[in-house]
Amino acid sequence: MRESKRLNVSRIGAVLLMLALVLFAAGCKKPVPVPARTLPPVSQDGNRTSTPNSGEKPVINVFTAEPSAIEKGQPSTLSWSISNATDMSIDHGVGAVQSRSQRQVFPSATTTYTLTANGPGGSETGTVTVEVSTAPAAPPTATIGARLSSAEMLQQQAQDAYFDYNHNDIRPDARDALTHDAQLLKQIFAQEPNFTVVIEGHCDERGSAEYNLALGDKRSTSAKDFLVQLGVPATRIKTISYGKERPQCTDATEGCWQKNRRAHISAGQ
């Protein structure tokens, strides 16, 4: 009984489908005027925000951490995709997020991130855990024959500060990276009084070359201002914007673009 009913439904469906296809095909021959359609609004970040269907509960399509296990100090990338939500946030300092994006995090211990999505139809949460193992402790400098040079320390230990598209504000993960860098720079400057550094500001390939030159400049000076607030002497830091001229990676993916939207500290001359 149930079986035949389902069959009938699918038959009706098939007929309707045929009818629809015929109608569409007929409609295609004549250029039927279509009312001008406005594009959905574009968010500040440049991503098109999906308009929430009122009444439908938010859906978290994807929420992952890649890699899900890291050594302390290494990055893991959170990726998410959410539908039917008007405001979305992630805890542990990540803050408000767009409906589809990625973010690098540097948790110092195993952390479970909770994504909360609220919409007109209710709210939804999802979690993902990043396992953090402690890296083999670096041998105390006294025990190795040759001490690391300041330039080597900087190259090996400085962390890049990452930015959102079209943005120059310091994100929570960039705050963590720069706080780490401030300690490192104080240590290096104490060790070598004449040492100077350059903060390079970089952008991803998508913006215009001119705007990216100015944006990279602002990213580098924002990072410098943050370090100076933490007590790093301003006279030892120079900034330079490379715009999109010196990308770290050249794939057309968000993962790669994020790597390029950064402030990077290198040794001065």
Binding site: L39, Q44, G46, S208, L213, K218, T221, D225, I240, S241
Partner: protein
């Protein structure tokens, strides 16, 4: 199955939307950009050559035809409609007697099937080891040959391919001048190329020939701007300096350089003490420069006006947002279009030279960048991601008074840095539609085929100038 229906509906919807948009928008703006109305129909039968010049006639005929066709100002009568008897010189014309043809005549061309308004004809010969082109332009609607003649001129070139191109271009320029179209012959396009491994400034003829390297700084050099008088170029580069003890070569912060186009020497330009200085545009007097720089101390790139040597710094914007790419209206010298991040994403704004009367020109959708004025100061071309993902720019044209917009490229690669030719009809821009970034030229009204001008390495940021160097 349901998914298929949705997919088909979506495709049909997009298709119909595209049709309705192109129908609704294209005619209005192209009528404002191409005011000339009906284009005259011209016939150009192949010229014959005598003696040594015969070897170069393919080049001569090909150059003459493409120069006139690519001007976008003329309707080319199809060669298959030409009459069989082709005149080589005025004395070949014979009026019909008693209704019977006695030889080539004007009505052979003005009547059907050619229905031409004009006829360009002539021949080439060898004189004193030089290539000589005899060229005439006739209005074939006139009653007799003396009333018909508009141009009758001799052009002399060397006896080689270059000479054949030269005489053909000069004849084409005279024909275009007669029709009120400015010839682009002799104009140069400056651009940025990385074909040596570093971004340097290069230049080429308006049609992509004769490409020459201009700078050799072996760092990152970009954003060229040419003074309206054709004597100077400003650009932005990362000057290379020796590190402490001469041990390492380092790149300094981006700075503005000004060079003479006549001598290629670097001229004096004092850069501001700032993390960033970038060249933007010359003022119409060629004595002042619009720049963007972090000199203001706000920490944000702002727009300034300086003297030609970098002195006399005057701030035009005072904002806490990124301000770049200021371009001055070449007719008024007062209206500035520029790109500002004050609304969160880069958009195109206008203001007066003193920074007053700021208004947004683009709608706020996507990223809108790279504004460039048309020579008549009524339109801008710019790059916009409207309707596409971030980074996927297309070239748009805007009538500044009405803010009416028309889309010139449609999603084939990233299309950026549009610049108008001095004739106000041609537009050059860069595009990633091929394997690399290359420079293309087209007509603002979209009425001629797109031409690719560069092939080696990546090439972008074209600026079209009257400078002939």
């Amino acid at each position: 199955m349901k998914r298929n229906i949705i997919l088909i509906t979506a495709i049909l919807g997009i298709c119909a939307l595209g049709i309705s948009l192109s129908h609704a928008q294209q005619p209005q703006i192209s009528s404002t950009i191409n005011k000339r109305g009906e284009k005259p129909a011209i016939a150009i039968p192949d010229f014959r050559g005598a003696g040594d010049s015969q070897r170069f006639m393919n080049t001569l005929n090909g150059t003459l035809f493409s120069e006139l066709q690519n001007s976008g100002q003329l309707t080319m009568v199809p060669k298959t409609n030409y009459p069989l008897q082709v005149p080589q010189q005025p004395s070949d014309f014979r009026p019909p007697a008693n209704g019977r043809s006695q030889g080539p005549w004007l009505t052979d061309w003005s009547g059907p099937p050619p229905n031409a308004n004009y006829l360009a004809f002539g021949y080439a010969a060898t004189q004193n080891n030089q290539l000589v082109l005899y060229g005439w332009l006739y209005d074939v609607r006139q009653a007799n040959t003396s009333a018909a003649q508009l141009i009758g001129k001799i052009y002399v070139g060397s006896m080689d391919e270059e000479g054949a191109k030269k005489v053909a271009r000069e004849f084409a320029a005279d024909i275009l001048k007669y029709f009120g179209a400015e010839s682009l012959i002799g104009t140069r396009i400056y651009f940025v190329s990385n074909r040596t491994g570093n971004k340097e400034i290069w230049s080429m003829d308006y049609d992509g020939t004769n490409q020459k390297q201009f700078t050799s700084y072996r760092t990152i050099t970009s954003f060229p701007s040419i003074s309206p008088d054709g004597t100077k170029i400003a650009f932005t580069t990362y000057p290379i300096g020796r590190g402490a003890g001469g041990r390492a070569v380092t790149e300094g912060q981006p700075q503005i350089f000004v060079h003479s186009l006549e001598t290629n020497r670097k001229l004096v330009y004092y850069n501001q003490q700032a993390s960033m200085n970038a060249a933007s545009d010359f003022m119409p007097d060629s004595r002042h420069l619009l720049i963007y720089s972090t000199a203001g101390g706000t920490g944000f790139s702002q727009i300034f006006l300086t003297d030609i040597d970098g002195g006399g710094l005057r701030a035009i914007t005072h904002s806490r947002s990124l301000e770049v790419e200021a371009k001055v209206n070449p007719k008024t010298g007062n209206d500035i279009v520029f790109v500002s991040g004050r609304g969160g994403t880069p958009q195109i704004y206008r203001m007066n030279i003193d920074g007053t009367d700021v208004a947004r020109l683009s709608t706020g959708e996507g990223d809108a960048v790279n504004p460039a004025w048309s020579p008549d100061g009524q339109h801008i071309a710019f790059a916009w991601t409207r309707g596409y993902e971030p980074g996927n720019f297309n070239i748009f044209l805007m009538d500044v008074a009405s803010r009416e917009v028309v889309q010139l490229t449609h999603g084939a690669g990233r299309n950026e840095h549009p610049c108008w030719a001095p004739d106000g009809i041609h537009i050059v821009y860069s595009s990633t539609r091929g394997r690399n970034t290359q420079i293309y030229s087209t007509l603002a009204n979209g009425a001629a085929p797109v031409q690719q001008l560069t092939t080696q390495g990546n090439n972008d940021n074209p600026v079209w100038s009257r400078a002939t160097h």
